[in-house]
């Protein structure tokens, strides 16, 4: 009991946890926004090449990007971005985290969108074209909205994955949730409560989010199907 007290109350240590939680959420959401944006662009570029044979160079560049990101550990990417790319720049470290995880997530989100779009029936594009829409109009009004809807559940998983993955950000000194737990543990010379509490906070976050997403999905499918 004394240890629990020390872990949370002494020196207002619970504030460390709250601060870590805040940073974890900021990094995750920021990264997700960047990831979705990058993912959308990559998907559009790659689909344009596959359907119309346009922008071959961009297609190969984006494929390379996806391969590199998916083929290397996220912690290494984070370190490269922090220690090499932003080495001399005077930049907020949280922002570095957002950018690094965003770039990482973009590759995975592009794969999610790609399979979402591939799951849209070919006839939808054909109907759009035969009614007089251009390729781009059909993408915008017909294919992407349907592909996006199909992508929502895996996108939710990506959200949950990101929350957990940002835990490695402590390595470059970002005060996210895991790092906060770690700091409290080293200050109190006790690992049990700080780490278990941290784990519980993660669990509440991921389970709560999964619940919300399930709920949204249900509402969505009962309206539209």
């Amino acid at each position: 009991m004394d240890n629990l007290y020390k872990s949370l109350i002494v020196d207002n240590r619970y504030k460390l946890i709250l601060n870590g939680l805040k940073n974890t959420i900021i990094i995750t959401i920021g990264a997700l926004i960047i990831g979705i944006t990058i993912g959308l662009f990559i998907t559009i570029i790659q689909n344009n090449y596959k359907e119309n044979k346009k922008n071959k160079l961009l297609y190969y560049l984006t494929s390379l990007y996806v391969k590199v990101i998916r083929g290397t550990p996220v912690l290494l990417q984070l370190m490269i971005i922090y220690y090499i790319i932003f080495r001399t720049a005077n930049i907020n470290i949280i922002l570095v985290g957002i950018i690094a995880f965003g770039i990482n997530s973009g590759a995975y989100v592009s794969e999610i969108f790609r399979s979402g779009i591939e799951a849209v029936d070919k006839g939808q594009m054909e109907a759009g074209k035969s009614l007089g829409l251009t390729y781009w109009q059909t993408m915008k009004y017909i294919v992407l909205p349907q592909g996006f809807r199909i992508s929502l559940p895996p996108l939710g998983n990506e959200f949950v994955t990101l929350i957990k993955e940002t835990s490695v950000a402590g390595y470059i000194g970002i005060m996210e949730l895991t790092k906060s737990g770690d700091i409290i543990a080293s200050r109190t010379y006790n690992y049990f409560y700080p780490l278990i509490i941290t784990a519980l906070v993660y669990l509440a976050l991921t389970l709560g989010l999964t619940r919300c997403l399930k709920f949204l999905e249900k509402g969505e499918s009962s309206v539209r199907g």
Partner: protein, 239 residues
């Protein structure tokens, strides 16, 4: 008004269309028949620019279709698919009005007004707010036809419109096609419904292995088929 000249379409080493020549006159009702895989769909898809011919030309009123922008072509040539291809994420009314609004052919008010009028005529008005998955196959196909008609095309290309339907729904769709035909619309229909074909068509095109084997007057062909291959095909399909 529509002229297909020496069109060849190859998919790898498959020749789906082998030097096709076909002239469609205004107001004609042409039925295209032939065994599975003979190139019927490919022919319609080439006319509608969903496929590019390997060689040959397709002209609409003297202009090569590849030089016509899609947004203009769709007001000349409409296409109906066997699988309807309604936009799954949109309600019926949006399915019908999206394209004329986005192509700036009509204001939103005009498009809705016209769509409701067409829906009303086909007794489908109560479906306006529904999604495609809530409709029967026959209803979906009739909506697909309305969606094409709102653009006022001059020719309708129709690929096995009843191929995926049960008898009750087939009747509704064929009835609608006849009503459209009565308005003087030029129509090219791929179908296996020989009863319908024999009283609907004034001209029949029989294809085999990517070639047009017979192209002639519907009455002669259905009442007294002389060609051996055609006879065989008809007896197979009727039995």
């Amino acid at each position: 008004m529509l002229e297909v000249k020496n069109v060849v379409k190859k998919f790898g080493d498959i020749t789906a269309l082998d030097h096709i020549n076909l002239k469609v006159k205004k107001g004609e009702k042409i039925v295209v028949i032939g065994p599975s895989g003979c190139g019927k769909s490919t022919l319609l898809r080439c006319i509608n620019l969903l496929e590019t011919p390997t060689s040959g030309t397709i002209k609409y009123e003297g202009v090569e279709t590849i030089n016509i922008k899609r947004n203009h072509l769709s007001q000349k040539i409409g296409m109906i698919f066997q699988s309807y291809n309604l936009f799954n994420h949109l309600t019926i009314i949006k399915n019908i009005t999206l394209v004329p609004i986005k192509l700036k052919l009509m204001t939103k008010e005009e498009a809705y007004k016209k769509a409701y009028k067409l829906l009303d005529e086909m007794k489908l008005k109560d479906k306006a707010g529904r999604y495609p998955r809530e409709l029967s196959g026959g209803e979906k196909q009739r909506i697909a036809i309305i969606r094409s008609l709102i653009l006022e095309p001059e020719v309708l290309l129709i690929d096995e419109p009843t191929g995926a339907l049960d008898p009750e729904n087939i009747k509704d769709v064929l009835k609608l096609l006849e009503d459209i035909s009565d308005t003087g619309m030029t129509m090219v229909v791929v179908t296996h419904e020989m009863n319908f074909a024999s009283h609907f068509a004034d001209r029949v095109v029989f294809m085999e292995h990517g070639k047009i084997i017979i192209d002639g007057d519907a009455k002669e062909i259905f009442v007294n088929p002389k060609n051996v291959r055609l006879k065989e095909f008809l007896s197979k399909i009727r039995s």
